[in-house]
């Protein structure tokens, strides 16, 4: 698939899964999608290893946009991006956008075949400047 992939990272697995459900309802299977939430013990938090798995799962040659909730999700996602090989790293972005709305609008943009930069831009336009 050549559409940009979407990864949803929340502290809460329920939030991540629920946001993913909303994305699926909008775009069906036209966009590669993965979600992850929770720390390595299953509590609230985020887990770099599982973020890496999610990026792999949602991988697209067009790249992957990651939507995150609070601080640690962003820092852990950026760490996961750092740990990718050079080629993949250049095609993954962490969007500064609200996680639910950002995921839905990014996926909708991606489903039309837009490049990664456009997918990121529409998501980040949701954030107050």
């Amino acid at each position: 698939m050549s559409n940009v992939g979407i990864v949803i990272v929340s502290h809460s697995p329920k939030v991540a899964e629920g946001a993913a459900d909303m994305v699926r309802q909008m775009v069906g299977d036209s966009v590669p999608l993965a979600w992850t939430g929770g720390n390595p013990e299953g509590g609230l938090g985020t887990d770099v290893a599982r973020i890496l798995e999610a990026i792999d799962h949602a991988w697209s040659e067009a790249g992957v946009a990651i939507l995150v909730d609070l601080g640690g999700a962003e820092t852990n996602s950026e760490m996961a991006v750092e740990m990718l090989d050079d080629i993949r790293r250049s095609r993954v972005v962490v969007c500064e956008a609200p996680v639910v709305e950002g995921a839905v609008i990014a996926a909708t943009e991606a489903s039309g075949g837009s490049p990664l930069a456009d997918v990121r831009r529409v998501a980040e336009e949701l954030s107050p400047a």
């Binding site: 720390n39 390595p40 938090g45 985020t46 887990d47 770099v48 601080g71 820092t75 852990n76 760490m79």
Partner: protein
Amino acid sequence: MEQHALRHLIHSVASAVIAHAEQLTALDQAIGDGDHGINMKRGCEAVLADLDRLAAHALPAALKATGTVLVMKVGGASGPLYGTLFMTMGKELPEAPSHADVVRAFGAAIEAVRKLGKSDAGQKTLLDVLLPVHAELAAGAQDFATRLPRRAAEAAEATVPMKAIRGRASFLGERSIGHMDPGARSAALMVAALCAALAPEDKP
């Protein structure tokens, strides 16, 4: 550094964090989401569980491997931040570092943390301990085992009146004022444990 000394060093720092997990959690409950203690404890327990493998490396590789364990196991923002600190130290240090090597590597590691955390001095974070400790270390190695922990404790205390700009505490705005930053406290703890383990009279 000899292997048993390296093992002692890693063990001391991880144990100090574990022993203060409840205090770190209490500080984080005041201004954050209350998981700093439990997250750091999880990461440090993973380090201790892996101690034989970690301490079998030379110093640079041991620091890199320790940082990687923290990144993968902590589960909060402090994992990548402390993980990056140790991983960068490992990348920058030679096997038998001089004082100048340590000053330079520590400076590079703090810069990497600052970049990842998109933060800076005065924003009520671990940087508010790491930066003054770096300056104190750069001023000279003599008597470091007393000077650095003292500077670290003062610097952590100085985060009390600061207002958080980054991290979960930033949502509290003005209400973050009046509490010590938990990340500053954990950084000060690690500096104290590290210096105690490296102190000349404490060499095993």
